[in-house]
């Protein structure tokens, strides 16, 4: 009758650990979507270059945030520029 209580139920935290690892390692192994961390400095430089063709911004004006997901990842790119557009 009490058999169910004797079988060790898998703790929920271990499942979370496995899921987190699967998502992270899938990204690390494949560099999925070309979004390998190593390519980001270059991506950042290129974005800055393109934007600088149109307005004057400093190196710190760009902020790239990433969230790696199971099915989808997101890249959020924020560019700050002076209130008055410094158009060339």
């Amino acid at each position: 009758m009490f058999g169910f209580s004797l079988r060790p139920r898998k703790a929920a935290s271990a499942n979370t650990a496995k899921e987190r690892l699967q998502i992270l390692l899938a990204h690390e192994r494949s560099g999925s979507g070309g979004a390998r961390p190593d390519c980001l400095p270059q991506l950042q430089r290129e974005i800055l270059e393109v934007i600088r063709r149109h307005m004057q911004i400093g190196d710190e004006a760009i902020d790239i945030r990433m969230e790696r997901g199971d099915e989808l990842s997101s890249l959020e790119i924020n560019i700050e520029f002076p209130g008055k557009l410094g158009v060339n």
Partner: protein
């Protein structure tokens, strides 16, 4: 009368979490201490110095959000602000992850100093999670420290390695080399303390360890199931459900910032046989 510059601009304190021996609980401690300081309202950043074996991000639960890292900042590929990951649970907490693909040679003294100087302006506490060993990576993590938390398990090789590390803190660090500077303030944190095994004489007591190392004790962290659970979830143990380990880390942080807190030896509650059989039945 000469003006004391340090009084004009309050500067953050750099605290290295180090041990010599691997796997004793440095990263667990860095995450817990960082989170507890932040929860108490101190602006805190935790830096991963374990270049090539990035792990702090997993323990802090921000592994999916790493874009730039410490090495990118040192090499000028990213600004510090672009590499810092702000914690989603605590607004005062940030993580500076390390590189997964580079090696420890990418750490230069000048580069590390520059980053730490910048962090000192924004943060009250800068916690440096050292890699194991006493080579370059560990030396870089301790070099600019004001204080050290020497993580030690009550076990012969760990205590021996802690002694080596204490020697290095007193000889090769920036403070050790500057005449007139206070030495690095080092304290021992005993972790994975198993009260049952100490009581049965299998494991060295806290007194034994302190007698050998002869430095002040910051705290005693019990061996606790809560630590594995917290690492599975990516939550510093002090931010997860209450546990003996969390309470011990909270006490240790209180002492770190100068509170008088009586030393106590905690342990996970031992379950009776019936409890063990039925705890999951509900």
């Amino acid at each position: 009368m000469s003006k004391d510059l340090t009084l004009e601009e309050p500067m953050g304190r750099v605290i290295v979490v180090t041990s010599g021996k691997g796997g004793v609980g440095k990263t667990t401690t860095s995450a817990a201490v960082g989170a507890e300081l932040a929860r108490r309202g101190h602006k805190t950043v935790v830096i991963d110095f374990d270049v090539g074996l990035r792990n702090l991000d997993m323990i802090m639960g921000c592994e999916r959000r790493v874009v730039f890292d410490f090495i990118n900042v040192i090499q000028g590929d990213a600004k510090l602000k672009q590499a810092l990951i702000r914690d989603r649970r605590l607004e005062n907490l940030a993580v500076l992850p390390t590189s997964q693909t580079r090696d420890k040679d990418a750490l230069t003294k000048a580069g590390v100093e520059k980053v730490l100087d910048e962090l000192r302006k924004e943060f009250d506490y800068i916690i440096c999670d050292s890699p194991a060993g006493i080579e370059r990576g560990a030396q870089m993590a301790m070099h600019f420290a004001d204080e050290a938390i020497v993580v030690t398990n009550p076990e012969v090789s760990s205590v021996r390695d802690s002694d080596r590390v204490l020697g290095l803190l007193n000889s090769i660090t920036d403070r050790a080399g500057k005449t007139g500077a206070e030495p690095v303030k080092a304290q021992v944190l005993i972790t994975r303390h198993d009260k049952a095994r100490v009581d049965s004489g299998e494991m060295m007591t806290v007194e034994d360890v302190l007698e050998v190392l002869a430095v002040p004790l910051l705290g005693i962290i019990p061996e606790s199931k809560a630590v594995l659970r917290a690492s599975n979830l990516g939550v510093p143990v002090v931010l997860d459900d209450p546990s003996a380990a969390a309470a011990a880390y909270e006490d240790a942080v209180g002492r770190l910032i100068g509170e008088q807190i009586e030393m106590r030896i905690a342990a996970d509650p031992r379950r009776g046989l019936l409890q063990r059989l039925f705890r999951r039945a509900v």
